[in-house]
């Protein structure tokens, strides 16, 4: 069977709460990262608070409808980002949230490699039938990456975000299992 946790540039990990909290604090201080990744206002949390939150999260043990992964580079084992899945088990589909907190890894294919690993996991291990995501209209780099991975633009909510005095849209994208499978077959030829 194919290797699930290693891509071309990155690998999937689960980090110790202290390690994760250190990185998260560092990433939060980059407000451009936060404004690309999130809609909530930028805020700064302490390492302690993040660690406690991380520990509380796995109190109940692994849940079948929530997956949370961190990502390290293959060559230097550097912790650069994360992705998470929110699954609807009945309808067999999920929402994905993904981010690279270390800005020197933007625009170099790491995000695309991460998303490809994520989709492979979703479609061959979780065996879901669809993945959805949302992104800011002003996040052109992410849009290109997601399109490369096979996501299609499905709609937009107009001018629902207000930042720096400007209103922008949120874009909604999705990929179906059949589409992903077709892409795989295409790549294998």
């Amino acid at each position: 069977m194919r290797e699930l946790f290693r891509g071309k540039l990155v690998r999937i990990t689960a980090e110790e709460p202290e390690t994760y909290a250190k990185s998260e604090v560092h990433w939060q201080r980059d407000s451009e990262f936060v404004r690309l990744a999130d809609s909530d206002p930028v805020q700064l949390s302490s390492e302690k608070k993040i660690r406690e939150w991380a520990e509380k999260r796995f109190e109940k043990g692994p849940q079948p409808d929530r997956y949370s992964f961190t990502v390290r580079t293959l060559d230097e084992d550097k912790l650069i980002g994360f992705f998470g899945l929110w699954i609807n088990l009945i309808h067999n589909e999920a929402w994905v949230g993904i981010g690279i907190g270390e800005r020197e890894f933007w625009g170099k294919g790491y995000g695309t490699d991460m998303m490809k690993l994520c989709l492979q996991y979703v479609f061959t291990e979780l065996c879901l039938e669809r993945v959805s995501l949302g992104l800011h209209e002003y996040n052109a780099r992410a849009l290109r990456s997601y399109e490369k991975c096979g996501f299609r633009l499905e709609g937009r909510t107009r001018r629902d975000i207000l930042r720096e005095g400007r209103r922008t849209d949120t874009l909604w994208m999705g990929i179906l299992r059949e589409e992903w499978l077709q892409m795989q077959n295409g790549e294998n030829q």
Partner: protein, 194 residues
């Protein structure tokens, strides 16, 4: 769309710990019932203690468990319990457990009716791909009922149970979504049709 929880003889209704704990306690006074349903020895518990246990289970319930009480359509009488436990989400396979506590409803088609309602819920509402069950070799009534509902034999654990001085097999049965659809002459849209 007709009600997915209603069959020809029974309907599935919500599992209320207070009501069910009283019923459980009464049904389990009948040791035959316990020995048909459970492999472990019965530990006689009060209704109060059973209710507490049920509430705790309900609290901790993951997205994987569904519990129902079974009521007759004719008199809305509570006659049994039904549980569906999704053991593997990617495979979309669940274990079903069914017990009719009111013995006057045995051998009258109630079990098969419950199972038909359950299978429709499993395949058409929560989109499972298969349903599994175990049944004891000494329970031919249940085995026949499940066969009628479309379950196929998948083997047995040899000499799994030890009761009344001899050993008995635990039989596994399973039904795939494709098999159920064929049995019901259903195309996917027909299941959801009016």
């Amino acid at each position: 769309m007709n009600d997915i929880f209603t069959g020809k003889l029974v309907r599935l209704s919500a599992f209320d710990p207070e009501e069910m704990s009283k019923a459980f306690t009464r049904w389990n006074l009948n040791s035959e019932y316990g020995r048909l349903l459970n492999s472990s020895a019965h530990r006689m518990q009060s209704a109060k203690s059973t209710a507490k246990w049920m509430e705790k289970e309900a609290e901790e319930m993951s997205p994987a468990g569904y519990y129902f009480s079974i009521r007759t359509l004719a008199e809305d009488k509570l006659i049994g319990e039904l549980g569906l436990d999704v053991v593997n989400w990617p495979g979309r396979d669940a274990f079903v457990g069914l017990g009719i506590g009111e013995t006057e409803y045995w051998s009258k088609g109630y079990g098969t009716d419950v199972m038909n309602v359950l299978l429709r819920f499993a395949f058409a509402e929560i989109n499972l791909r298969r349903v599994t069950l175990t049944v004891f070799e000494y329970n031919p009534r249940a085995i026949r009922s499940y066969e009628k509902a479309g379950f196929r034999h998948e083997g047995h654990l040899r000499n799994y149970l030890n009761r009344e001085g001899r050993r008995w097999n635990e039989i596994y049965m399973g039904i795939l979504r494709e098999e159920w659809m064929e049995l019901n002459n259903h195309a996917p849209s027909a299941v959801l049709g009016a």
